[in-house]
């Protein structure tokens, strides 16, 4: 059984099965959880393309699967990525019971994960554009469940992600032309433009990010959080394929300048927008924008200095967004909760969800002590070592973002209701796990974060 069969086709088949069993919510969640954690354990324990001997049994997991004339290749270097994505998905699916996500979320979400894994595996890698589009299409039913209005956010998400596909394919055509005719300088510019536009749409780079706050506002926050977390994680990693493959791209100063400029714009606008925001779900959208901006800034530091930081940003981001999405889903289900003004007194009515939400918020605001701070600090220090202007803007954006959180905290802290815990035990357990993870990663980043460097293993020329 090859690795692509195990990590792509098997979960796809399971997802189809779970779709038909979706009426039995518990069963679906437990099965999806078991599949995800098993695949994650397998990725951690079983080497690929190496003979494994356990007593009398010996087996080997081949890395390659031929399908429709294309190859899906998951090599040994992909194992950290596989473990990360399936662990994330496993926890997210388990939390869906508490978050009360719709019934389509788990089966379609599992299918989306499988397709996103295929994005990293497909060769030639330009076919990933089609797989990303399929993943996006698969996610639409649980973002806008049947019978509910199709909001602007989902519509724009679909439009912008779909617009990315032709640009990436055109970029592939240009890159192939460059290989055939490397002396033609015009082709390089053409390829850069197509690639830039493709990734701008994919990664919701400024000015194409307006769908993110709309999506988090109009869709269920838990499912929206799942989509933005996993989709962006995979696309960010996939973007390294281009840098790994094309040496001329690695040496392009315009590329790194563009990443720096766009990253700064995203951090500043995301932060400033958050400072004035009066919708708790949209705040998550702005946090995602700010975090994407930080990732682009890390990448803009260059291959030597920025790549490890770029990878290390994954863990705090995933933990924080997962905790945030869960807290937000529970918060919005509080009795009588209709909007931002109903946050008043929430800390006294539902302290666990209030505190966890704030921890997640401030973690992405890089407040010391929390998961988001350590790597963000190193990113800013490295930026400062190149120029003091960029970190100044990052600090400005960050302060704006923190103001948004402090306003929400002030609202939650106000009120004179008696203290009471209104969350259920399961909700408390899940929230506390998330909150503890945020604090532990913040206090001991050296234990948890460097493991993320393994995500770079497939990119042999970048290491």
């Amino acid at each position: 059984m090859s690795a692509p069969l195990l990590f792509v086709l098997l979960p796809l088949v399971v997802a189809v099965g779970l779709y038909f069993a979706r009426a039995r919510r518990w069963l679906v969640v437990v099965l999806a959880g078991i599949v995800c954690f098993s695949l994650s354990a397998l990725a951690l324990l079983a080497p690929i393309d190496t003979l494994v001997q356990i007593g009398p049994i010996s087996f080997e997991i081949p890395s390659t699967l031929l399908i429709l004339g294309r190859r899906l290749v998951l090599e040994d270097g992909h194992r950290p990525f596989l473990a990360l994505i399936y662990t994330t998905a496993g926890f997210w699916f388990l939390g869906s019971m508490v978050a009360r996500a719709n019934r389509l979320f788990v089966p379609m979400g599992l299918a989306m994960v499988a397709l996103l894994v295929a994005v990293s595996a497909v060769e030639p890698f330009l076919y990933a554009a089609l797989l990303v589009e399929m993943a996006v299409l698969v996610s639409v039913p649980f973002l806008a469940p049947p019978g509910k209005p199709f909001g602007q956010g989902v519509l724009r998400y679909l439009i912008f992600q779909s617009l990315a596909m032709p640009f990436i394919l055109l970029a592939g055509w240009s890159l192939a032309s460059i290989e055939a005719n490397p002396s033609n300088q015009a082709l390089y510019g053409q390829a850069e433009v197509f690639l830039g536009l493709g990734f701008a749409f994919w990664l919701a780079v400024f000015p194409f990010y307006t769908w993110i706050p709309l999506l988090t506002e109009q869709s269920h926050p838990y499912t929206a959080g799942f989509v933005v977390t996993l989709l962006f994680s995979v696309i960010l990693l996939f973007s390294l394929n281009f840098l790994d493959t094309f040496a001329w791209l690695r040496s392009s100063t315009l590329l790194f300048q563009s990443l720096r400029l766009v990253g700064l714009i995203m951090v500043v606008t995301g932060g400033v927008w958050a400072a004035f925001q009066r919708n708790q779900a949209r705040l998550m959208g702005y946090a995602v924008i700010l975090e994407l901006g930080i990732s682009l800034l890390a990448l803009s530091l260059g291959i030597a200095e920025g790549l490890n930081l770029f990878a290390q940003l994954f863990l705090p981001r995933i933990i924080t967004l997962a905790t945030w999405a869960l807290a937000l889903a529970i918060l919005q289900r509080q009795p009588g909760f209709r909007g931002f003004s109903d946050l008043r007194g929430l800390l006294r009515r539902a302290p666990v969800v209030g505190i966890t939400w704030m921890l997640a918020y401030f973690s992405l605001g890089a407040l010391p002590l929390l998961a988001g701070f350590p790597v963000r600090m190193v990113v800013m220090e490295t930026l400062a070592s190149q120029s003091i202007g960029a970190p100044l803007w990052v600090m400005a954006g960050n302060m704006g973002y923190l103001i948004g959180g402090l306003r929400a905290l002030a609202l939650m802290a106000s009120g004179d209701d008696p203290w009471r815990i209104s969350e259920t035990r399961t909700q408390i357990a899940m929230l506390v796990i998330g909150a503890l993870a945020l604090i532990l990663v913040g206090l001991f980043p050296g234990v948890f974060v460097p493991g993320m460097n393994g995500l770079l293993e497939p990119f042999t020329r970048l290491r």
Binding site: Q152, R156, I159, L197, A200, F206, P207, F208, T210, P213, L214, T253, L254, Q257, S258, L261, V262, I265, V272, W273, A275, F276, N308, L309, Q312, L347, L367, P368, L369, F373, P374, V375, M377, V378, M380, E381, A384, S385, S387, I388, P391, M395, N398, M399, L402, I403, L406, L409, A410, A413, S414, G415, D416, W419, L443, P445, G446, V449, P450
Partner: protein
């Protein structure tokens, strides 16, 4: 690892007392345990003074091979007086708690005080900016949790968050200092701080102390204001004062120092005057904290960071003594008077070394302001000491025995701390303390004469006139120096900016948003072509 012992001692005992309180509600065992722990912690701190520097360094923080990125704590000659002061305060709080059992003093409040002491020890011993940023946040979060758990008033909860916000801004300024240093190729630590970065660090500490610029974020007083309240109002300032004491001697960047000095002087003068005329010492505590810590900030700005320790200790210990002095009679008056002696900065008293930072040679006319501020602080302190309060006699006999001992421990702590850390205090360095003490006593005598029961009608009229004038001038000064007008202006600007942002969001997320995105993209590409094309 030795440094972990006191930190864990307070943290673990806080947890144990809290758990005990829930399992077996009662006062006896938790109180005895708290007394034992705080006494042990206090003694341990004296022992550790003989072993300084005591270091505690973590492993590489991020594993990126950057030597600066690791947690590092040190108990040295600078951090020890503040650590010892916190231990002294914890001891006094627990010992005097017996007199406050009728005022919501309970094991949970003692546990919270011990937890804050532990967090405070972590923060004052933080020996590099990264560790300090994390420690400050830990302390702020502990404080905000304790405060939000205890306050009931709607307005007060909001003020707690506003105070937390001001502290967060201070922490961000500290982070900014690290970035500025990195831009200069320096891995910032507290052993070598360039002058321009020193100023940023002063701003960070000043922001957290409420001195630079003057801001009274938590003007209203909290419940349990005497016991837990004392630790709540001491731990965070102590950690900022410890940073100030680490700054380089000889002054900061001359470009901005005069501006900072002016702002700090105004803050000190205003808050000292409010302290002098206030009727309730607990209500005026925020002014006390800003005034005395402002003297510490001024000392650092004038190039004498070591002198700031004298004012820092005066703020924490004689200040703590006054705020814990709840049950009063003639017999116990002696202890707060000893506290006043500790504040007086007379020659051969603990705060005497503080004049090194305020009374410069050659004579600087600005020093007159600090002299006046000190007079106001001392006169206000004495006034609050002699104000009648609850009687000690109504309490049980064992309380009457243990309570004064708690007050005495604060006096002893200040003298021991000064003996070890401020040797200049016990040399004849300045007579100015004599002048301020005499002036303070004179001011007190005049006000006592005007307020005495046998005062003549003319005296009363005079007193009324002085009082009305004082109140009017106070209101006028308050309107200017509290900087409320600046904050109102800020809110006005915030409202304007919010309207602009809302407009932009409406455009970008409206029906024409996709087209606007394309237009912005074209603009961005043109910018890149101009700025980055080969």
């Amino acid at each position: 690892m030795l440094l972990l012992i006191p930190i864990l001692l307070y943290a673990v005992s806080a947890l144990a007392i809290a758990v005990w309180h829930f399992v077996r509600p009662g006062f006896g065992v938790p109180w005895l345990a708290a007394v034992a722990v705080t006494l042990a912690g206090w003694g341990l701190m004296i022992y550790l003074r003989l072993r300084v520097p005591v270091e505690l360094a973590g492993q590489m923080w991020l594993g990126l091979g950057d030597a600066g990125q690791y947690p590092y704590f040190v108990l040295d000659v600078i951090s020890w007086p503040y650590a010892f002061a916190l231990c002294g305060l914890a001891l006094a709080i627990v010992q005097t708690a017996s007199a406050r059992l009728a005022h919501k003093s309970n094991p949970l409040a003692w546990a919270a005080s011990l937890a804050l002491t532990s967090a405070g020890l972590v923060a004052v011993t933080a020996a590099n900016p990264l560790t300090l940023a994390v420690s400050w946040t830990m302390l702020d979060v502990t404080e905000v949790v304790v405060l939000l758990a205890t306050v009931r008033k709607l307005n007060l909860s909001t003020r707690v968050v506003v105070a937390f916000s001001a502290r967060v801004v201070g922490t961000m300024v500290l982070v900014w200092a690290m970035l500025v240093a990195r831009s200069q190729g320096i891995d910032l630590n507290f052993t070598q701080i360039p002058a321009d970065i020193s100023l940023v660090l002063i701003l960070a500490a000043g922001l957290r102390l409420g001195v630079l610029p003057l801001h009274l974020t938590l003007r209203e007083e909290i419940p349990m204001r005497r016991g837990l309240g004392v630790m709540l109002r001491s731990a965070a300032p102590a950690s900022s004062l410890a940073l100030l004491a680490r700054l380089p001697a000889g002054g900061s960047d001359p470009t901005w120092t005069p501006v900072f000095l002016t702002l700090a002087t105004l803050a000190v003068l205003y808050t000292a005057v409010v302290w002098l005329f206030s009727n309730d010492p607990l209500a005026a505590r925020p002014y006390w904290l800003i005034a005395v810590s402002g003297l510490a900030v001024v000392s650092v700005l004038r190039g004498q960071p070591a002198a700031s320790i004298a004012w820092g200790l005066a703020m924490l210990l004689p200040g703590g003594l006054l705020f814990l002095y709840s049950a009063r009679d003639r017999g116990t008056l002696f202890f707060p008077l000893l506290g006043a002696l500790g504040l007086s900065a007379l020659p051969f008293t603990p705060a005497s070394a503080g004049w090194l930072g305020l009374w410069a040679q050659p004579f600087d006319p600005a020093s007159i302001f600090f002299l006046l501020a000190h007079v106001a602080l001392l006169a206000g302190y004495l006034r609050h000491v002699i104000t009648p309060g609850e009687s000690l006699r109504g309490l049980e006999r064992w309380v009457q025995g243990i309570y004064p001992f708690g007050l005495l421990m604060l006096v002893v702590t200040q003298w021991i701390a000064a003996w070890f850390s401020l040797p200049q205090s016990f040399a004849l360095i300045a007579w100015v303390g004599v002048a301020t003490t005499l002036l303070a006593l004179a001011a007190l005598a005049v006000s006592a004469r005007l307020m005495r029961p046998s005062a003549t009608h003319a005296d009363e009229e005079q007193a009324g006139w002085v009082s009305i004038m004082g109140q009017r001038v106070g209101r006028w000064m308050g309107a200017i120096f509290r900087l409320d007008w600046v904050y109102r202006l800020g809110m006005y600007l915030y409202g304007g900016l919010r309207a602009v942002v809302s407009f932009l969001i409406t455009i970008l997320e409206g029906d024409g948003g996709v087209l606007w995105a394309m237009v912005l993209l074209a603009l961005l590409i043109s910018l890149l072509r101009i700025g980055g094309a080969p």
